[in-house]
Amino acid sequence: MLTKPKLMNPTPSDPSVAAEKTQSPHHFSLSVVTGFTLLGLLVTGIWDFGGFSANLQSFYNSAAYGGNYKLLTAVSILFEGKMQSLLGIVFGAGIVLLMQRKSYPVPIQGPDVLIRRQIWFIILGLLLAFILLWPEDLLYPFGIVGILLFAFWKLPSRSLLIVALACTLIYSGKLFWNYADDKSAYQKYLAVKKVEKKFADDSATRAKKYPFDKTKDSASQKPILAQKKLADSLAKKKDTLNSRQAGEKSIWEGLAKNLTYDSTKTVSQNKSMRAGYSKLWFYVKNKSQAKESGWLYRMGVWDIGSAMLLGMALWGMGFFSRRFSSSTYLITAMVLFALGVGLAWLRIHNNAPHLTDYAKYVESHLLPYNLFYPIEKLAMATAYASLAIGLINASFLQWFWKGFAAVGNMPVTNYVLQVFLGCFIFYGYGLGYYGRFEQWELYTFVAEICLVQVVFSVLWLRYYPMGPLEWVLKCLIYRKRFSNTFDRTVSTTN
């Protein structure tokens, strides 16, 4: 249907595209930031791989002192959620990049390439979640949100920023709404408690009203005793909570219990995660399904969507093409860092009372502890990208940038590799180290995996133009077998 003359021309063989990728400045910046993000994902990802669970975190967070607390706080301020937002930003930029391509290796329209790619991401994500058993997989939600937001790619940057802001506010609003729900659950709980207290008082008064005097002749007391028993049992029947009240009571109790540290929970979780494959499958399945359905619907769309839209806007503004001066990038980074760290501090400052006594927190706080988390994440993620691009010409960092860029040039391979290594090292079907390491010890694994990824990426790209999974995806998307070797003529000019 679409007759673009350029489309019919199959000349640009892939190596040239790959070569262009390593040369042009915006591709290089984007690759560096992508590589940095992928490695950075591990910093909090390792919590889930290695068994530093939310339960354990709440233990350290509510204590609020000590080395573990400081490390956790530092990671939480600098990394938690930020890398996911940054991934959203580069993903959004990548969508526009893909759509702006002038030609594709086979005659096909841009939207088809994009939608097929997204569907393959979804399928790959399902494999990660249900075969490798990684419930925190990002390919599935990113695949879906990419499809949802596809229609926005051509909007001007200003409109994109407005839509991104709207998504951020909705995300924030949803956090507030959740908190309001918790608050009303607490109010209902208090009401039920009152009723319960009244029941207890009633039965106490009843006991006083009909005292049974043991000194008297028991035979003469028998009918009175029987009557009393009957009255008592009738009253008791009336004096138990009905199912609605019992439900309201248990909702709040469950909420509060969920926040407090419970050592048995960690023990049983460790046991489940170290179990064999089939047991582990059933254990992880529910988590994955909950993330792919409920979380994505309630939070994920807004969370990931705001970042992707911001990424599209930044791309359109020339942010990744180094349109601005280095000092502009650095100043932007500083300002956004300050904003992000400030908001993160506020969040962490309120998190401890929120964890230690949620009832008290609900009574005394108008706003949830994480209300500004969506803004914090985006600000800090943009700050990282800005910092990297601002320093991209610094000569002493060239080694780093090349390493990051290599990782970023094969993002899917590296993401899957990371998940594979993490699962293999820690899960029961692999080496089974889940929950056996201290928080700081886990970071030696992070360093190790990062090193493996950088070395692997650099070496691989020396011999092949594309990462292995990137190549497979390309063949699947264009439904044609391509070769994954350098064209000699191009590699000499490179």
Binding site: G110, I147, L148, F150, E292
Partner: protein, 438 residues
Amino acid sequence: MDQYIELGAAPVASADRIKSIDAIRGFALLGILMMNIPGFGMNWDFWYTIFTGPRSGYDYLTFKGVEVFFQGTMRGLFSMLFGAGMVLFMMNKKEQAGQPSVAVYYYRRLLWLVFFGMINAFVILWFGDILFYYGLFGMILFAFRKLAPKWLLIIGVACILFGMIQSAWRWSETREKRATYIEAMAAKKEKKKLTEEQQQAITAWQQIEKVPKPDTAATNENYRKMHGSYTTVFSYWVPMNAENEINGTYYGLWDMLAMMFIGMALFGWGFFTNKLSTSTYAMWMLLGYGIGIPFGFFLFHVDINAINHRVEFVDRWRMNPWTFQELRRVFITIGHASMLMLLYRSNWVPWLMKALSAVGQMAFTNYLMQSIICTFFFYGYGLGYYGNLHFHQIYYVVAGVWVFQLIFSSIWLRYFRFGPFEWVWRSLTYWKKQPMKL
């Protein structure tokens, strides 16, 4: 108007519309109300009451007729035509230089559909909304639009199979729970100490056994809330709607996608565009009804059994017959479609076909209007008939809405290009006010 035609990616002029598709869509749209009306008008307990009640009387017969002949098939027909409509939309539009590509319009259109679906669910407060899902699943169909009909059919059948596997899996889980329960009860009889797992198995099974029985407290609550003010009904439905949309999207995907793919395949073969021979349509009608309807009767009686003798039912069937209900749906749906195509060709009731195609042409308007009329008629902030009519009586309301929509659509399209909500939808999609008057 000239300018409007020149705009490449723009709504289809009414002359180009395929009337046969509109007629079937109109039929499906009116039919959908038959399935939806109990949801608008009464608590789901009616289901249990009728299944366990006497096997005669208007209520029972109405219910049986609707269940056997129509349940799921109108949704199926509508899904098929949605798939076909997607291909049509992409085919009808030409790419224009300097304009967003057709694909962008397609996705914008679907995003607005998702939005309208949420309005239908969260503002009009109709929990059975389907627009939300259609908007989302349509986004997947796009990648398959150029596939050969044969492959589309294969994918559609694969979706059905996947749904069946899921359902069979759930059934085997139920039976497993039953088995552990029996074991645990035997152990209890022998006064052995029960393990924690066995304790759980007992409560789990007791929960399952209880499921179909109505919970009077919940029913009363439901009745009270539905007769409340708008804010009462609103806050009652919001959490449940969210839950519905989550589960419907994540677990209900196969059911809808299957029909959409089959619809795309049938469209590719020219089924909906009146391109097959009369004998082919006749054959498919006989085949569809011939297999689907007897199977439907069988399933209906299976259902009666399942509810009246729950325990025996679980013990009796290694494979739940309901696993195969998708097949019944597909066959009857194809039967309906063939019957309509025959009726359309025979030119036997041209006035009805014309009216139906008017309804189908304004399908979006009519769908939302059904929600508006029915919520107003039944909910507390409207006329408040919720729960106050017998099962067969709510079908008088259906008949009323049908007559109204047939007449209203025919008259409206005499003066305007599109239905009112279609106009809003299109204007939003193209981000430009569309011409309305003919």
